[in-house]
Subunit: 308 residues, 2 copies
Amino acid sequence: MAPIKIALVGIGKIVRDQHLPAIAKNNDYQLIAAASRHGTVDGIDNFKSIEAMLEAVPAIEAVSLCMPPQYRYEAARAALDAGKHVFLEKPPGATLSEVADLEALAASKGLSLFASWHSRYAPAVEAARSFLAATTIEDVKIIWKEDVRHWHPNQEWIWAAGGLGIFDPGINALSIVTHILPRPLFVTSAILEFPENRDAPIAANITFTDGLKLPVSAEFDWRQTGKQSWDIVARTAAGEMVLSEGGAKLAVDGKIVHQEPEQEYPMLYRRFAEIVKAGTSDVDLAPLRHVADAFMLGKRKFVDAFHD
Amino acid sequence: MAPIKIALVGIGKIVRDQHLPAIAKNNDYQLIAAASRHGTVDGIDNFKSIEAMLEAVPAIEAVSLCMPPQYRYEAARAALDAGKHVFLEKPPGATLSEVADLEALAASKGLSLFASWHSRYAPAVEAARSFLAATTIEDVKIIWKEDVRHWHPNQEWIWAAGGLGIFDPGINALSIVTHILPRPLFVTSAILEFPENRDAPIAANITFTDGLKLPVSAEFDWRQTGKQSWDIVARTAAGEMVLSEGGAKLAVDGKIVHQEPEQEYPMLYRRFAEIVKAGTSDVDLAPLRHVADAFMLGKRKFVDAFHD
């Protein structure tokens, strides 16, 4: 099969760090164009907007959309209307409804839509899922604390309404938890901490449960300096499971049972090629739905102003 | 067919005003029990909790859940686990995820779940839908302004996190708009006004669009005194359509084309009997999804404290 002629939209840090290397190493793809207001990619045609690119390069078969979520719908719609398969960086959109609309549009046109969740492809996630499926879980604690100044320096969009704030990394944890737990979760209470000068939260405490009353809690915080925490801890009948380093490492009762180098984006692009070939879509909205639920149900608290 | 033996849970104002008269006039139902922390219904067995009622009265075939949304999931789950069909007052829950879970549970047990939206059954709604389907719409304005002190005196739950605040009436407008417009909507921006002493908003301004960029705006406000406004105004190629009085009256270019007395709850109970007989569910989450999206995407603004 000829490689999928792909284009990238929204050339920023995540594209340089992850998308470009993953595409370069995968024979399923040929990168032929890029569109971005500010960034460019060497060696291919670059455009200022997706509309200009789609018009100038009809050979494009698929696009990866990597701009902030607030701008994703229009670009995705333009691409689907032009008959292209669409890969959405996480989160798949600024609202649940717009993604539902894209899903329907892709289906009506026989195109593939991929709501990608990179953390679900962290190396130890499947091992954690298997471990939990074979035991009884007593409770689950999610601790996702990082330093926003280090990971998102001067990224104004994450602090704007719709940028999701701490849920931008937190949704990675949710994409893992919703995949490894045996039953669907739902939020029962939440406290969202907004810096008094920002429109998105810097921290959140959430409690979830499921149909069998499993206690699940999440602590999300963007003010962590020093060691960063991306851990999911489950007390179970088979011991304490710790899925750490964002899903890269699995330990049970302190003993490491799974650890290998991460290759999340290569796996994402493998999955996207798979659904394009199969003529299907892959759009699980559960992680974004939990975020929306936490905003709807959550208590707002105001904390110190945040300055980059 | 024998009447459906039904029980009511959460005996408050809406039950006395609407549910009891609607059930009394419908031969498809026989009301046999009620459960409520404070209220009782004359002439039938009353219980303090749904669990006590389900245990004491196994003959119950269906329950209507009319307590605040924050308490609805547990009661619905208890009823479905006990093999009863479930009617959910609006909104169907405090989160989208919990309703999705109930939907799956009902399906797995072959029971009917009804997410009721009473305003969709207002008398002129179907006429508005037909009118809009036959023309080109230029823009839509939703104006839903009422006096919270009049309609919800001292109802603390609506001001608590998860009580939805102004979206408690606003979701009625959304349940109509999502039914009468030709394409799915999605929120593009929102401003939510929170009284500084409350956890739920007292007003909201929202802009929506759809796949063809239809401009739709909503003004929700709970501080309206004097004349109350429950209007949906659409400028169209066939004239200006005004659906007013919460869906009771339809006018085009100032001329009334449809007006009749409302009978929303009788229609809801007719619909519930229909799905129970057909062995299906009716759970459209679009209105609640828009509320969740508005909370997730919306800018928060603080306004004067509200006291009942």
